[in-house]
């Protein structure tokens, strides 16, 4: 039985995904990137293999993606995370009846990708210059409000009155704005939902530059945050397709690409 792996070395977390011959996902593993991401990436990969009891040789092809893709020597090939995300979302989206637009909010950037019917990237826009509207913004806010990331979702729905408008376009200023709002005695719930709406507005504007087609796929770590998902759906005015492991879609895409590249190479040799 051959296996294929995709490793997404992101700015905040390293995600690895493993698929078998038929392209079904065998398992995924997530670990923080930390400082020496080369060792951490290797460990994440080995942990994933051990979890499922698969030897290193069984993994025929590894594709690396993400910021650190070029420096991960283990990988046989590297691909940009936009293409990997597109392939992963396209595959995962089939279960939900096909997706055409992908919104990904990563640790330090947010991306909007439009793919055509065959799944090829036709247009994409990235915001990787400013931390506002990215996962970092949520981390900073959660730390200031002393809430865990997972609880952000519940706080969003617990809010009684309308969400506050956090109009700061910069993650650093947002911090001071949150503290100001707290001092004025606003509830944490309104602040959290305000933050969600501010991120949602920015991301939808990014997506508009690319053009929004039906069934929008939403992945990346923050996709786990139900509050943010609700805000996004409200801003977009349409349902969002959320996979059950939103963080590993890119790695999954890289794995699928590894499989197709391996099959293509073996066909050429044969």
């Amino acid at each position: 039985m051959n296996y294929y792996a995709g490793i997404d070395i992101g700015s905040t977390a390293i995600k690895a995904a493993l698929i078998d011959d038929e392209g079904k996902i065998v398992g995924t593993h997530i670990a923080p990137t930390g400082s020496s991401f080369h060792k951490n990436a290797l460990d994440t990969f080995m942990n994933l293999l051990n979890q499922h009891g698969i030897e290193r040789q069984a993994v025929k092809f590894i594709t690396a993606t993400g910021y650190g893709r070029k420096l991960f020597k283990e990988a046989d090939d590297s691909i940009s995370e936009i293409t990997a995300n597109a392939i992963g979302a396209y595959e995962a989206g089939k279960a939900f009846g096909g997706v055409r637009t992908i919104i990904n909010i990563g640790g330090q950037d947010s991306k909007a990708i439009q793919i055509d019917v065959q799944g090829n990237v036709s247009n994409f826009a990235m915001n990787d210059k400013c931390a506002a509207g990215t996962g970092r913004f949520l981390d900073v806010a959660a730390r200031n409000l002393e809430i865990d990331l997972e609880e952000l979702g519940d706080y969003h729905f617990a809010g009684r009155n309308a969400p506050l408008t956090i109009n700061s376009t910069c993650a650093v200023f947002a911090e001071s704005e949150i503290i100001g709002l707290l001092a004025k005695g606003h509830g944490k719930q309104e602040i959290v939902s305000g933050i969600h709406y501010s991120i949602a507005r920015r991301t939808v504007r990014l997506a508009k530059r690319v053009g929004i087609e039906d069934r929008v796929y939403f992945d990346g770590g923050p996709a786990l945050n139900k509050g943010l998902v609700a805000a996004m759906q409200d801003e977009l005015g349409r349902e969002l397709v959320i996979p059950e492991h939103p963080q590993t879609t890119t790695a999954f895409g890289a794995a699928i690409l590894a499989r197709s590249l391996f099959l293509a190479e073996s066909k050429e040799e044969a």
């Binding site: 910021y67 940009s80 936009i82 293409t83 090829n120 990237v121 036709s122 990235m126 210059k129």
Partner: protein
């Protein structure tokens, strides 16, 4: 540090930046044409070791392609293009330029500010500053504040009307008078004709290079082509022409041998937008290291500077000077003009001629005119079914990460599309 050490210090940081780029140009790519060695050495000597640019007669700096160099040569002076591409001078220029402003103008002002500038132009006798975009127009006051003699070459904001054309012809003629005061020489028909002949020989060489780059698979990488045209900024025109003619012969040989400078299915990229000026060849190099190949460009550091030639009906002084003026205004596709139909048409024509797969549109952050034209160019290209990547960057190397992601994603989308199309 006193000023002389400071100068050497600046020189050394500037030199390191240039050397790094030169090494990238030479080592990251296998089998560069031998004829390119002349250009590598030239840049090494001028940028790396700060060799002084030899010139006969007065040295006249120009800050844009609109300054007619034939006129400057005819007065016995030597033109040198001052547009600067080094991030180091960009930092110096940033001291007296607004935060979000064009890196090119910042770098140019920075190089003028630094006494031991690279390329080392020593003392400029005159700077001819065509009033093109806002920032270059405002920069002229700053240049004269630095103590340089500056001649503002007034450019009309629109170029379609006859009034604009006559206004520009008068500006060029006024420049001729100013050059006469500067050099004390008299403009004669023979001198101007001789200067125009030399420039047209250089343009002929460039056009041959331009035709050769149409061959598919491509035989010359875009980064070399940019280096060649960047050398035109300061190199002696006859030596430059000879070197380019030699390069053309070698490329012709390569074409016959069926030599491939990039992989077979490398996406053929048309580069447009803000001019890549040595050592800021960051984007072309990135494209070509990520597997693409820049086959054609529409920028004022290459095609727009050298492509269009002058036609003269009667070889008389007045007619020749007016023909020169027309040649520098009418075909210009610079975004400072109100309409950009010419530029759209030029891009679409280059796309068909060079069988281009995708367009990379570079806009220096802070350059509003290029940023504003992005939408119309994108629509025009989309109509033709050409994908376009809009990249907003500046001279700083620290956005390489984001850029490489975008470039790779763009190239991959083209590759898959091409594989699909097969």
């Amino acid at each position: 540090m006193n000023s002389s050490e400071a100068d050497t210090y600046y020189l050394s940081r500037q030199a390191r930046e240039a050397e790094a780029t030169l090494e990238q140009l030479q080592d990251d790519f296998p089998d560069n044409p031998q004829a390119m060695q002349y250009f590598y050495d030239l840049f090494h000597r001028v940028y790396g070791q700060g060799e002084i640019i030899k010139h006969s007669g007065k040295l006249v700096g120009t800050t844009c392609i609109h300054a007619p160099e034939e006129l400057i040569y005819a007065f016995g002076a030597t033109p040198v293009r001052l547009c600067n591409g080094s991030y180091h001078y960009d930092q110096i220029g940033a001291d007296f330029m607004p935060a979000k402003s064009c890196s090119l103008v910042k770098a140019t002002l920075g190089s003028l500010q630094a006494k031991a500038a690279v390329p080392n132009t020593q003392s400029l006798d005159l700077i001819v500053n065509p009033t093109t975009c806002d920032q270059k127009t405002k920069a002229s006051a700053m240049m004269s504040a630095m103590g340089y003699k500056v001649e503002d070459l007034e450019l009309p904001p629109a170029k379609e009307s006859e009034e604009a054309r006559l206004y520009w012809q008068r500006s060029v003629r006024r420049l001729a008078t100013r050059l006469r005061e500067l050099t004390g020489n008299k403009l004669t028909r023979k001198k101007l004709q001789h200067a125009m002949a030399r420039t047209s020989r250089a343009q002929t060489a460039f056009r041959t290079l331009h035709q050769l780059r149409k061959s598919a698979p491509t035989i010359l990488l875009g980064k070399d082509a940019f280096l060649v045209t960047n050398a035109y900024f300061f190199d002696d025109i006859e030596r430059w022409t000879a070197a380019v003619e030699q390069l053309n012969n070698e490329l012709l040989q390569r074409q016959q041998d069926g030599f491939q400078a990039a992989q077979k299915r490398a996406p053929r990229i048309l580069f447009t937008g803000s001019p890549p000026i040595f050592p800021n060849l960051k984007l072309p190099i990135l494209i070509e290291t990520s597997g693409g190949v820049v086959v054609a460009d529409e920028t004022c550091s290459a095609n727009r500077m050298l492509y269009d030639m002058t036609a003269v009906d009667e070889w008389r002084l007045n007619d020749m000077v007016d023909s020169l003026a027309d040649r520098y205004l009418k075909p210009c596709t610079c975004p400072i003009f109100t309409r950009n139909d010419d530029r759209q048409r030029r891009l679409l024509q280059l796309a068909t001629d060079f069988k281009v797969d995708g367009v990379v549109y570079q806009a220096f952050s802070g350059c509003q005119v290029y940023e504003m034209e992005y939408r119309s160019i994108a629509d025009a290209l989309a109509e033709r079914g050409l994908p376009m990547l809009y990249v907003e960057t500046d001279y700083s190397p620290d956005d390489m990460g984001q850029l490489s992601t975008r470039i790779e994603a763009f190239l991959e989308s083209i590759k898959t599309r091409k594989r699909q199309a097969l």
